[in-house]
Symmetry: D2
Subunit: 442 residues, 4 copies
């Protein structure tokens, strides 16, 4: 089945991410839940809450037994949560009722599902942080290599003043450095065990609840939140927010590349291009388009997650289900956006001649601001601005280059290198190199 | 794989909809695309654009041959669109190059994918309209049966004045009647063929383009839009808007039911309830929660679709891909919400005694507005309102019923049936019956 | 105050719309509410529900008296709804307690606020429909004038095959024609009176409720919905959906224009351009940017409105308040987007020479598809496609025009006008003219 | 004007926040921009970029002169940015062309607008952090006071097992503690100067750009980002994400309170209640509804901000304008939600008797889980669960309390205090107190 292209065989190499995808299979979900049940039993055995021999049996079985996901469907369709039928199937499979009765002792479905989810989110974060680092480094290399390569800076799609390609690359990478910090900050808040019992009090575990939670956390390598958090959804919301911000930043990179490779611009060439079913000449910027599409999709789903923070009482079915529908796709979108960006980055080849052509189409209008500042040394600045504005209009009407008109009007002036891009790069090269350095230092 | 619970075996009976789900499988997508290619060839053969014998061969093959979806993955990963590899695989499978060369003649990927999508949307709409009608009728029956059953009307969660349960049911059903009209209006706009060629001009079909489109439309039982619409996304946006509105209306029904079945209220009993993994007494309103969750999910995805109407130039990869990620889920969400509502409706059992208890908790405060109007016949209305407001405060302090206090203060007044729900139902029964009648007339 | 730029003096000429803006002032809100109270009293007087002399007094006062909006703030801050304090202030101002006591008889705040809102929405719709029609006609003129003007069709930002500028304009206008139909369909559903009483039963009006509603509707020139709809939010949702779709369609026009006027492209010139504080040469496409920004903003707010259809019980404070925060801005965004598009449309000047240059940068690659179809007459089509693909690569490597390579490889072939845009326009001119005709027929 | 209720006189005490509102007036915007221009000139004077005497004159004038916001409207309507006309008006007002010519030297509009915005965001953050702290402390007091007060824990709206009211309050407060950490983390990223020049290179400032930025930052008490960030929108996105998460968490508190004060529940009384225009008895939970409405509104607008991170090239008009439309409202929504919560918190009065009644409606079903664990000591747990499930059904059929049935079936068992809430609170009191302690430690 493939209601989502993330789950489709056809679109497997376009949207799916194998590494993260395998964390969000039915099998992986069952596996992770059993792992939590096993670790829970072990902790409860150690604390004397259930017989240690049973704890050991449950723990071992949780690692060894297979439970068929499809077999859980019918009861899950009724209870919404798959845990009741999973526990039932697990107990049956154990064939040791004297031990299996102690499985899922004093826990509720959300404890198991949520902790099992956090286990997989840990891997998602690890994978994504690594991809983020790889991407930052690739962009660092690119920024360094082209720190001094002039290109037209564009605002509102209009040529503004020169920048360097390396600086533009740095503008893609700088937010990623900050996202990396954000990811580290959230990790501690997000990667913790959830163990609350029926309504948040762990009452069925007597006075051992907090100790069970602590040992469970330790066994699973997660943090102990020190309290129930089943109805506090800020952890999930924070992860979703960050995924949205990261895919958004990658979307900007995708958008910029889509514009740079436009026919007529061709200021960048990409190693990969997509073909058309009818146009032999086409090489479509598929990967940049994916970055933009995923940014939009994740942002849409983020709205679902943020809305679900308004979570009622001790458990809100509707709000929780909404998270189920959105969160795995958000993880997948994030992971795929990062992998797509990593496929793209090493193949980004700027075309200096095309960039040079775009900077100066012969009119030299891109130097208008620079000229106005040069003239401001000989006349009040508002006058200089007005004079240059008039010249710009003359350029547009007559096609005569701005430099020629300037020479005509101020024959005694020496504008030096003013009408060359290299003279106008300002902080661009330094910013490109500073980013490269930060990237390399990771 | 199951990044989306819509695609999961575990959650199959919770979120998945078998009937609509089978329209959004990889196989169904391939099948629909081949169907379009076949019908296109037939139309082109009839118009002499390609040899008729080849057209017949292609058409026949399109019905008979199987193409493995997974085999399209690699090239789709590069081109984004699966059509180039599908056409290649189809031609190979035909084993008749002299004919197969005429397959996909002058069309572009979007023509095939989009028309194939419309074919499936037609079925989605047919299924959903039928479910909508069934649901309206079920609600009509319920509204009719309980047209006179008094219950507490609640605003801001506070008891306001009496309504009837039948009227509340009518308030769920009335928007559905309007949605049914909307669905019929959009059908004509949405269910049309898309045939544009490479960039919208059908230039490769000489002067036969419009005729091909007309015949293709006729062959597929779709409307002929009379023009290219590949970059005009209002059709998709309208479908998504309607799905959002319908799931929203069903969400309200879900929310109202969730509140009515609250422990302590129990004004309604549902035939189905979900169990807990640890609390034996629980019977959770799973279906109502699903309605609310789907309403939220669809609304989030609708934002993606609406954003994609800002579709650049003659084809915008990013905007189009964003639709792929969201639209099938929207259809599925709509279909599942309707089926869940249809599972729910016949099992909704109002509890008259509980409703009566909620109307009057002994204080009779719900009759405050009615009393104020009765008193307004003997004194200026602002005075009456102030007098009743003072009485209400006395009720809240002392617990003495409002009726007793009224009798005390206006011993000569005959308030008749004022303090009975039946006297306060106003238009409620009539509205319930009017809806029932409209529902039955479908 | 100006938390929203829609309300700011600085941004008045950028985002604000004077005509619609004056419908959403505090004064206009108070005025519309008083108008409803007056019409309600009149209807109730005619039906004998309140003394006719009082009804006349209330009606007259509702037209003549002023109530200071600021004076309602304190009580509104407590009750959320401004009606209690408005009624109080109105009664005081009437200085005729014997009559004023019958004001707001049996109605609830939502009746007054919602009907007052519908009155203003009627004007919003009238204004917007007129603007829509004006815009469609302006686009029709443009499409007609440039029906045959060739320009490069672009998919994924890459030159695809030729289209005509008139056809592109038609692709902006065609959705607007459909939106006009949608607006007419929704008008009947949306423009109706809301009169429900405290919880939807009009019980305080005895058996006269429906008649009062009918007369109120007639007096205000609105439709009589025939039932209470205070908790059925599909009407508001439909209006919001349509506003979202329209601004989305205008956003596409804005996006296309932003790309067409890009420095380096300059295929279109706009009459208006925005200046920079530092760059004398800049002429930024401000109006197209506004179209895109409003499309995004309205789409974001639409999510709020759609979410609010999940409206609890007989009145849901939170859901209703959420509508207040979003709906006026949606109306304003729609109105401003239409006015901005109307400012833009007459000043859109395509530049044929720039368009010609973009079609053929000297390589003739845009004719690749056409060549492949021409060759398919002499060899199997897959072979032709492969041959042309190879030539395209040679073009890209050597810079030799495709036409020259074709002449070299098939010296005997007569490709006629194949390598000219006029030969490749297909249905474009006809589509442009068909749209122009439809526009003129409005 | 009042397109947004945030800007309305009528809704001033409902939605508006005076303290934050005054940061988002036209006057405040002009003032902040002038402040930045003044500080910029001062920095440039100190570095010899402009004459020091002129710098001093500009700086002084920036503090003293008034510029009428309305006077900027016309040109802002054309250029979109108000800075060109502001600089013009400022220069005119200075009446010293020899000095004023050096105002806005080498800066672009975005530098001024964005830094001026950051100055106001600093105040927003300071105000909100203080409110957050106040709120956390108020909740801490409440949690402490009611740490042991039993109430029914509810999942899916169904009574689950007992919790304590103090623990529920802690569940509102715990996310706020984390939000406070998040706010501190983002402060350093967000509160920095933006100075980029025309397209990001500060080229007009020669080699002094970075020094000017550093001194400007110091003068304004903001951080120096060390690079241009005009096209990197993650800072704005992070602020919006956090505002969304905070209002979402407050929305949960609002939702829980709305449910707790429901007629029929009345487990909490609020100090404030909103009246109705027709129902004398009503006391609506207005403040909780506001919390929920603001959560939804901010979440909708957050989608606009997140979408705007896909910001094109060196400046993207559409993306930037979209931020203008959404960000101030997000700040206002956050501030108002916090003030509303602070109005609410001290007046939250739990009603122990009503809570006790809800825990046990006489059936004792809430103790079902506890009974199953007690029985699991005498029989295998699955058997115990099944036995209790059967008893629950008997309770529901016959109305006999669970305790009686348990005593009947296991006459020899001593269930002790099992059927009392106090015995079932588990970790609830400790969690409430731990939160209170953390709150007090702030």
């Amino acid at each position: 089945m493939a209601v989502s292209p993330f789950d489709s065989a056809i679109y497997r190499d376009l949207f799916h991410d194998a590494e993260v995808g395998k964390l969000f299979t039915d099998t992986a979900e069952v596996r992770a839940m059993l792992l939590v049940e096993g670790a829970l039993a072990k902790a409860q055995g150690a604390l004397g809450l259930i017989p240690e021999v049973s704890a050991r049996a449950i723990h071992r079985a949780s690692l060894e037994l297979q439970v068929d996901p499809g077999g859980l469907a019918r009861e899950t369709g009724q209870s919404a949560v798959p845990v009741p039928s999973l526990v039932k199937a697990f107990r049956t499979a154990m064939q040791a009722p004297e031990h299996s009765q102690y499985a899922h002792f004093g826990a509720t479905s959300q404890d198991i599902m949520e902790t099992a989810q956090v286990l997989r989110l840990r891997q998602v974060l690890a994978i994504c942080e690594e991809r983020l680092t790889t991407l930052i480094k690739a962009l660092g290399t690119l920024a360094e290599a082209h720190a001094d390569l002039p290109m037209a800076g564009r605002t509102y799609g209009q040529v503004a003043s020169p920048v360097s390609f390396g600086q533009m690359v740095a503008s893609w990478g700088q937010p990623l450095l900050r996202h990396r910090d954000r990811m580290r900050e959230l990790r501690e808040r997000v990667l913790c065990v959830s163990l609350s019992g029926a309504a948040g009090t762990l009452s069925a575990m007597g006075d051992k609840g907090p100790e069970v939670r602590a040992q469970l956390a330790e066994a699973l390598g997660l943090a102990d939140p020190g309290a129930s958090w089943h109805s506090e959804r800020d952890r999930v919301a924070e992860l979703s927010s960050l995924a949205t911000m990261i895919t958004g930043s990658l979307g900007k990179m995708g958008e910029d590349l889509t514009l740079l490779v436009q026919s007529g611009f061709n200021e960048v060439r990409l190693a990969q291009g997509g073909g058309s079913s009818t146009m032999p000449q086409k090489s479509n910027p598929v990967l940049p388009s994916i970055l933009v599409a995923l940014a939009r999709h994740v942002a849409g789903l983020n709205g679902v997650i943020q809305g679900a923070t308004v979570h009622r009482q001790q458990r809100d079915g509707a709000a929780w289900f909404a998270e189920w529908l959105a969160l795995p796709q958000i993880c997948m979108g994030l992971a795929r956006a990062l992998s797509a960006a990593n496929e793209l980055a090493p193949g980004i080849a700027p075309q200096p001649d095309r960039m040079a052509a775009a900077i100066d189409d012969g009119t030299g209008l891109i130097y208008a601001e620079a000229l106005s500042f040069a003239l401001a040394r000989r006349m009040p600045r508002p006058e200089a601005q007005a004079a240059v504005k008039a010249l710009c209009q003359e350029v547009q009407k007559t096609g005569t280059p701005l430099a020629d008109l300037a020479a005509r009007d101020w024959p005694d002036a020496d504008f030096g290198a003013l009408f060359t891009p290299a003279a106008q790069l300002g902080t661009a090269p330094a910013e490109a190199r500073a980013f490269a350095q930060a990237a390399m230092a990771l």
